[in-house]
Symmetry: C2
Subunit: 376 residues, 2 copies
DNA sequence: CGGGGTTACTGTAGCGGTACAGAAACCCGA
DNA sequence: TCGGGTTTCTGTACCGCTACAGTAACCCCG
C-alpha cells in the first residue's frame, strides 16, 4: 500500500480561519445579529419556514450562505428536540462477519432502503466495548434493531436500559418489544416433508451451533445454539420425528465454507450415508454439493440436498439448489416499519396502536434440481 | 405476513412513570441531589473516574443505578463535547443496491471492523433527501466516508460544507481530502497483458457506464462514467492500445446479472467474436461464462474471460475465474485509518501530520482456469 | 512548622439549538 | 369603529452535559 501526502490546499474542509475573517463559529446568533432579527427567527427560517415571511426567510438564508452557515448544528438540535435522526443496528459479535453473510447484508440494505424515505440513518453499532466507549450506550439514536445476536449480549442490555424503542429481528424477542421473525418452522418443516415425500428416510442435518468444533450432535433436540438454528431444527424435526426418520445432526461452529466442508465430509463418510441432507444455509448446501461431487457422489441421484434462504448462490449452484426462500425485502420492510412504529409509539403517537408489533415473514419451499427420489 | 399485538407488559422500555415514583427524567442533577454532591462530580463519576475517590464514585454509581440512570445523555454529551462517536458513510444513490454488491458489503464490513476498537459507529447515510430531512446535513457525526458516489451528488456538498473530515473511497478525490483508491490501472493492465501474452488480439470489454442501455461504445477512450470504471478501462487500454489489439467495448448500465447477460450476448454474437473478454466485475465475468456455455462456446478453449475483484464468485465459477484481486481488508483498514487520522487532524492533533492521506491499495492478477491460449 | 505538590470536589459559563407563550401589527366584516 | 382572528416576529426558559478554573483539605519533607 502506498501512502503519499499532499499539502491541504483548496479543500474547503481545511480548518482554521476561513475567508471572511470571522473567527468564532457561525451560529444562529451570528446570523441573527447580521440580519437584525432574533435568533429564534433565524431558527424558524431553517426549521419552520411557515413561521415567517418568504422575503425575510430569503434574506436570512442568503446571509447564512454568505457567512458559510450550513444549517442548525445536528448535535445541538438533537439535544433541544430530543431526536437524532438515526437508528442503531446491533450486530453479531464480529461486525465484519455480519457483512460476509449475504443474507445479513441484503437485509441491512433492505432496511436502509426502507428507512431512507423517513430520513433516518442506520448506525451500525459495534458490540465490542472499549472501556470508555460503549456504542450501544453512547451513540445518540432514536431506536434500534437487534439483529440475530446472542440473547445475553451486554450491548442489548444497554439498549434496553436506555429505554430505546427496539425491534428484535431473527432473534428471541423480549416481552414487550417488537419483533420480526421468519416463519422458520413452517419453511423447515416443508423442506423436510419434501424429502419424506421423495422417499428419503435416512437424513442428515448440517446446522450451526455454538459448539467449538464440527461434529455429530448427540441429541437433535438440543441442537443449535442460535435462535434461528433452533427454530429450523425444530421445524425439520417436526416432520422427520413423527415419520420415524433416521436423523444425524452435524453441528458447525459457524456458517462458513471451511466448516461446511468438514461437516459435509462427516456425513458423506458415514457407513450409513444419508440419502438426503438438510442445510442451515445455501452456502452450506452448496459446499456439500461440491464436496460430494469431489467424492464422486452424485446430486441428486445419490444424495439430495436442501439449502436455506434462497440466496443468489442457490440458483448459481450446480445443480441449482432446492431451498427455503425467505423474502428479505419483506423482512427489511417489516423491520423498518416496526421500528418507526415503535419510535412513534414511544413519542405518544396514538395512531400506531398500543402494544408492540410481532411480525412473521413467510417462508416458502423452492424446489429445484438438487433433490430427487431416494435411491432404491 | 402475520401481525399480532400483545400488551406491553414486562418490557422495561415501556414508558411512563416507572417504579420509584420519580416523575421527571433522571439527569446528573437528580443523582447529585440524591447523593449530596455537585452535578459535576456525578459527571466525573461517569466520564472521568480518576477525578474522584473510588468510594464516592461507587456511591454515586449505586445511586444512579437505583434511580435507573444509564449514563450521560449521548445527545447532550455530543453538544458539550463536540464529538458524537459516529462517522457516516455516504452510499450510492440507492442504499439497497450498495449492499447487493458483495464487494461493497465486504468493504463496509471491513471498515466497521476496523472502526470497532475506536468505538466509532458507522452511520449509513441514505442519499435520498426528503424535503426537511437531509441525512448528510442533519446527522451528527465526526467525519464521513464517501464511497463510490457520482462526484456531483448533492449530499457530498453538504458534507463538505459541514467541514467534516472526509475520506473518498473508490472515487475521484477532492483536493485536500484524504483518499483511498485501488491501484486499478496496474491491475487492469496486468489482466490485459496476460491476455496479450496468451496471444489474444481480438478482445472484448464489458464494463459499466452511465448509459441508459446496454450496447457497444463508439470510443473506448470516453468509456465508463464511474471513476472506477474509467480507471479500469484506462488500465486495460494502456496495454491493449500499444499492442494494436482489436477492442470492442460494451457498456452496461450497471453491475447486474440481467445487463451482463445482454452484454455477453452482444459480444458473443459479433461476426468477429473476440477471443477474450475483460470484465468490470466477477459477476459480469461469471455471467459471460454462463451465457457462453449456453451457446455452446467453450471457456477458455473458444474464449477467455477475466473478471475483477476476486470475489467469492470467482472461485466458485466453473471454470474458476482468472481475475484481478483487490484486498478488501486492506482497503477497509486504510479507509478507517485515514478517517480516524483526518478526524484527529481536524482536532489539531499534530501527531498525525499535516496534509491529507492518499492511499493506494494494490491489486494483483490471479490466474485461474478461465483464460487460455488464443484459439488458432 | 511552613511551603510546594497532590488529591478531591465545586461553580460558573457555556455548547447551539428549539418550544412555547406572548406581543405587535394587520385584516376584515359588522 | 370595534372585536376577533391571522400572520409575523420575539423573549425566555430550558435540553443535559462538560471544560476549566478555582478552592479547600491533605500530605510529605526539610
Amino acid at each position: 500500500m502506498t501512502t503519499a501526502t499532499r499539502p491541504a490546499d483548496a479543500y474547503p474542509g481545511s480548518y482554521g480561519t476561513s475567508e471572511g475573517g470571522a473567527v468564532g463559529r457561525v451560529t444562529l446568533q451570528t446570523i441573527a445579529d447580521r440580519v437584525g432579527v432574533s435568533r429564534m427567527t433565524v431558527s424558524n427560517a431553517f426549521s419552520r419556514p411557515d413561521q415567517l415571511s418568504a422575503e425575510l426567510r430569503a434574506t436570512i438564508l442568503q446571509a447564512a450562505d454568505e457567512l458559510g452557515y450550513v444549517g442548525p448544528d445536528p448535535a445541538a438540535r438533537s439535544l433541544a428536540r430530543g431526536t437524532t435522526g438515526a437508528v442503531g443496528v446491533l450486530l453479531t459479535e464480529s461486525v465484519g462477519s455480519a457483512f460476509q453473510d449475504p443474507i445479513a447484508a441484503a437485509f441491512f440494505g433492505s432496511v436502509a432502503q426502507e428507512l431512507a424515505p423517513t430520513g433516518l440513518a442506520l448506525a451500525l453499532l459495534p458490540s465490542v466495548e472499549s472501556p470508555d466507549r460503549i456504542p450501544a450506550r453512547d451513540i445518540p439514536m432514536d431506536g434500534a434493531l437487534v439483529y440475530s445476536c446472542a440473547g445475553d449480549m451486554a450491548p442489548i442490555n444497554w439498549l434496553i436500559k436506555r429505554k430505546l424503542p427496539l425491534v428484535f429481528v431473527d432473534q428471541a424477542p423480549i416481552a414487550g418489544a417488537s419483533s420480526v421473525l421468519l416463519d422458520d418452522r413452517v419453511g423447515a418443516r416443508a423442506a423436510a416433508q419434501h424429502l419424506l415425500d421423495l422417499g428419503h428416510r435416512r437424513i442428515g442435518i448440517l446446522t450451526t451451533a455454538n459448539d467449538r468444533s464440527t461434529g455429530i450432535a448427540p441429541d437433535p433436540a438440543t441442537a443449535g445454539a442460535g435462535y434461528v438454528s433452533r427454530e429450523r431444527v425444530e421445524g425439520w424435526m417436526s416432520a422427520l420425528g413423527p415419520a420415524g426418520a433416521d436423523v444425524t445432526v452435524v453441528h458447525l461452529p459457524d456458517n462458513t465454507e471451511a466448516n461446511a466442508e468438514d461437516g459435509a465430509r462427516i456425513l458423506l463418510d458415514l457407513d450409513d450415508r444419508p440419502t438426503a441432507v438438510l442445510c442451515f444455509s445455501d452456502l452450506i448446501a452448496w459446499t456439500f454439493e461440491r464436496v460430494a461431487r469431489a467424492q464422486g457422489v452424485r446430486v441428486p441421484e445419490d444424495v439430495s440436498v436442501v439449502g436455506y434462504d434462497d440466496s443468489p448462490i442457490a440458483r448459481r449452484a450446480q445443480p441449482a439448489l432446492t431451498t427455503v426462500r425467505q423474502d428479505l425485502e419483506a423482512k427489511g420492510r417489516a423491520a423498518a416499519t416496526a421500528l418507526t412504529r415503535a419510535i412513534a409509539r414511544s413519542r405518544g403517537d396514538a395512531s400506531v396502536g398500543e402494544g408492540p408489533d410481532a411480525v412473521w415473514v413467510p417462508t416458502t419451499l423452492v424446489v429445484r434440481d438438487s433433490t430427487g427420489p431416494a435411491p432404491a
